[in-house]
Symmetry: C3
Subunit: 419 residues, 3 copies
């Protein structure tokens, strides 16, 4: 009987699975909830690397523009001027990120060597460029960029205005203005104006490449991680090196706030990474959440609660499978759950806009909002006996990441049946 | 001659009276100015109570969603999770309001006993539910809710997203996720999933109802109002117990700011109550105003000043009758006046968004903006002799609430003629 | 060869010149970039003066409404109530500006005598009126008004809602309400209601005009400029009396921040004046810029950098001639250059919304952002040899205002050829 119920539940679970961009309509949500890796927009594609992009338009919070940069070893992402605060996450490889910005008549030029798991923020108005490390392993440098509050018009614009390519800024002016502006000869300007515009990612074959590589390797290895962490204090954070906020045999999660990375303070973003082997029902009532799946696959279930207005369209729950490279965007107040497949892991890195007093509201565990409601009242709210409620809200020590081995196994069976 | 002029003025006064939702167009205002009690939207209707709602979309300030809850004695408004700051006003009856919210890993659970005239604010992200008191007098508990800055999309959405019903949040998830999430048996989840969803307001027949009633009464009566006020300091405010800001034989008015109720500070709302037996021309240049008529009836006149752009559409004044339960929304910078009928009183409770430096700008009385203008200049502005201006702006001690007995009588005559 | 290249460049320079309102489409910018003096909208036109207006809708930052007031000597701009913060610049003549506002139950009434070059801010909710000085020289008083963040609906509304005429606020109410509201006789109200509405600017023939004139002159001349400046500390600022931030034989520029004029702090505007005899390529990545040409003529070139998204519309550069009275609005992140004609000067006063950390990003000079980029990288970005880059970014002591005599001469030749 119990077994049969599970099967029914799992079947329902797949009923609304979608493979493209799903939209909730009628429930007040128009953000695409899922953008698969395949449906990203191509921005740049060369032998040295590629850029794809995704725009998320959460009506309740604003617009976000994501770009996914892939750079082959020994490549260069050419300098751009950022028009919005940008958070980046290093998905693979090694490289060096250069930033510069002017503040109160002074310039602040920084570079930092980055590796897998690093996250940092570069502020609006900065010049930004990236070198990928010469690699013996041929691992490409992959950086995910999130542009926050590109609040200018529609998403097509957002994409177009995330940054300006420095070269375009110069080449765009009339030759005569450039000549006089820079105080250089006509020949110099002529040299600049007549050349082909380079692609945004180009091979970067240093003259002293081998030495550079050695230097680079030496620099990385001569510092212990602790020393590096100290140097980069307030500049970057590494999800894989930090102690998780929650960790048990079933997975871990880390939330990165401005307390961990000072640069997050002014950008009003929080970042998080969750490594799940198991289901984790959770919701966050006061912030949008954008998550990029960086490993594995799983299911996301979003519940669209109706509030019983008479004759009102009732939005349905939405479930979809996610896999590495997919982007899931969930408006702030919708409850959702994530679950991995096959006891394999589902890992995602995500971002949420910070609202005032943004303590997440959990459904389960000792911090559950259910704990704050009188049990008799809760029984009435759920229309069940009080004994059921007591069962439901008894305190648990692991609120977020929970064992669901049997569930995963059965989902696995189900998937095999479907295939 | 003077008498005839009055009749003409009063006739003009009724010319544009509307009974439904009036909209000013062309003058830059599209907010519905009047939503009658009859045109509210039904949200919930059961034997235990009902909820109706009104959406106000003031383009200049944002969206407001109002809900009007009526609960029979011994009823329960089930727990909901608020998606926006909510101000509530208790229109009649007695009850207990429960709120809980998580802040920085701690939970804050509060309940307060409320009665007619109470106003309080519950912050976004809180769980909120209400019990109506078992009543010997059969008086229902009526609570008006105002959701501020539900800045998400259109008003249909605003309505749908003011709060989520806690039960929906749980029932929405797949059984398997719930089972594993809560770590309970399939039977427990089955019990939750298979039941009917209860209506949002249900009878609440406590086991020990009589005792509860006595306790309740004792609790309420054992404290003097002063003691209660001290306990609820910074939590609630009662319009009928507070000393009015302005009071005379013709009425009174009270403005409630964050100085009176700390919780108002973060929500950027002011509340006010005005009890008029007489006309009161007033305008507020820097904030929208939403008023709910809670007693009596009267007239509201809104003036749409044109600024003489050549060939520009000129919006007309709008007048309408209002009665108990009607909602009037007036964009910030439009001058307006309220007037009661028949020497009866017109009482309204209202809310305005707070702008920077929101001192209301009065047209009449010693605080009138006219007092700040050179009299010669003002005579030129009005195109009248200086003597007329001196008559107009002489200081008065009662700026806001003014005698207009003869006016009310004549309006009354006029209304009878019309009928 | 070099000469021929210049001719070609200059020809290209004029190719896209437009005389009306130019709009950039497809590049994410819909703000009209140029509104000529001739295409301003007429608001008021009487013998005593006139008002014209321009609306600028920068999608990325908000809406701005500009009004250009011209008052003959001995005229009066009647009292209005401001619905938005207003910055004003005195273009010519002398007069007295009156402002009053209520704050926390107190009123603050101020007047200040203003002259050419003065800039000040009047806050939202204030009453504002202006007298032009009786003048022996027949010089009219010209004041340019900028209304900031009139964030209410479309620009037609913005225009209509920048302020309300005080007279309209009173005349709009029904006679009976006015009579009872002000507690005056029917005859007084009748006198107000039956008169013609005066135009917004009227002759102001003081009874004791000569004496007034003498008093005025005395008041102005009895104080030294330093004494006046002290009195008006934090109230107004004069561009022509202040020491420029940058000054050389080729021109000067002054940026006015809240450090110079306290009133700017709350309005989030910066003002600036630039007096160019020469070209000046510059861009500002974090704020919109609205400039009014107050003297001379010149060329403005705006570059619309494309960011190479595949299959994306590529916006073109736009060039236009500007002359006294024209308004140029450039969205924040577009690079632009200004250049005067004929070695004559091009003077403009401008305003920009302040973003967080709004240090302007220069292309040229020692503060250029190019200085912060590795020269080898910059060579790759521009696709030119490193020697060209070194030539381009060598430090210069005068970053903003640069000699371009030969250029101006050639442009002059070119213009004569065209004519």
């Amino acid at each position: 009987m119990a077994r049969k119920l599970v099967a029914a539940a799992v079947a329902a679970f797949f009923l609304l699975a979608v493979s493209g961009a799903a939209e909730l309509r009628g429930g007040g949500v128009s953000a695409p909830l899922l953008v698969t890796k395949e449906s990203r927009r191509a921005v740049v594609s060369t032998d040295a690397g590629s850029i794809t992009s995704v725009d998320v338009n959460d009506e309740s919070r604003g617009r976000y523009h994501l770009e996914f940069i892939t750079m082959e070893p020994s490549s260069l992402f050419l300098p751009v001027l950022l028009h919005a605060d940008m958070l980046f996450y290093v998905h693979s490889g090694n490289g060096r990120v250069h930033t510069s910005v002017r503040e109160d008549e002074k310039e602040r030029v920084e570079h930092m060597d980055v590796e897998r798991g690093d996250v940092s923020v570069v502020e609006k108005g900065s010049v930004f460029y990236v070198q990928s490390r010469p690699s013996l392993t041929e691992e490409s440098l992959q950086i995910h960029l999130l542009f926050n509050h590109v609040d200018e018009g529609n998403s097509e614009k957002a994409s177009n205005e995330a940054y300006s390519i420095i070269g375009d800024l110069i080449r765009g002016f009339a030759a005569k203005i450039l000549q006089k502006g820079f105080g250089v000869s006509e020949e110099t300007i002529e040299a600049i104006k007549r050349v082909e515009k380079p692609p945004l990612i180009i091979p970067f074959l240093h003259n002293n490449e081998m030495m550079e590589t050695h230097t680079w390797i030496r620099r990385i290895t001569s510092d212990t991680h602790d020393e590096l962490a100290k140097k980069n204090k307030n500049k970057k954070f590494n999800f894989f090196k930090a102690k998780p906020d929650v960790e048990n045999c079933n997975g871990w999660s880390t939330v990165l706030t401005h307390k961990d990375l000072k640069a997050l303070e002014s950008s009003h973003i929080e970042a998080f990474m969750v490594n799940l082997s198991k289901a984790r029902p959770h919701w966050n009532p006061s912030a949008s959440e954008i998550a990029i799946v960086i490993h594995g696959q799983g299911m996301v279930q979003v519940v669209c609660p109706n509030q019983a207005p008479i004759d009102m369209y009732q939005c349905k729950e939405i479930n979809f499978r996610v896999k590495e490279g997919d982007v899931v965007a969930v408006p702030g107040h919708l409850p959702m759950s994530h679950m991995s497949y096959n006891n394999g892991s589902l890992v995602f890195v995500g971002f949420s806009g910070i609202a005032r007093k943004n303590s997440p509201q959990w459904l389960v565990g000792k911090n559950s909002v259910l704990q704050t409601i009188d049990k008799e009242i809760l029984a009435l709210a759920l229309n069940v006996p009080k004994s059921i409620v007591k069962d439901l809200v008894r305190s648990r020590s692991e609120p977020m990441i929970l064992d669901c081995t049997s569930c995963a196994e059965k989902l696995d069976d189900k998937m095999e049946e479907e295939a």
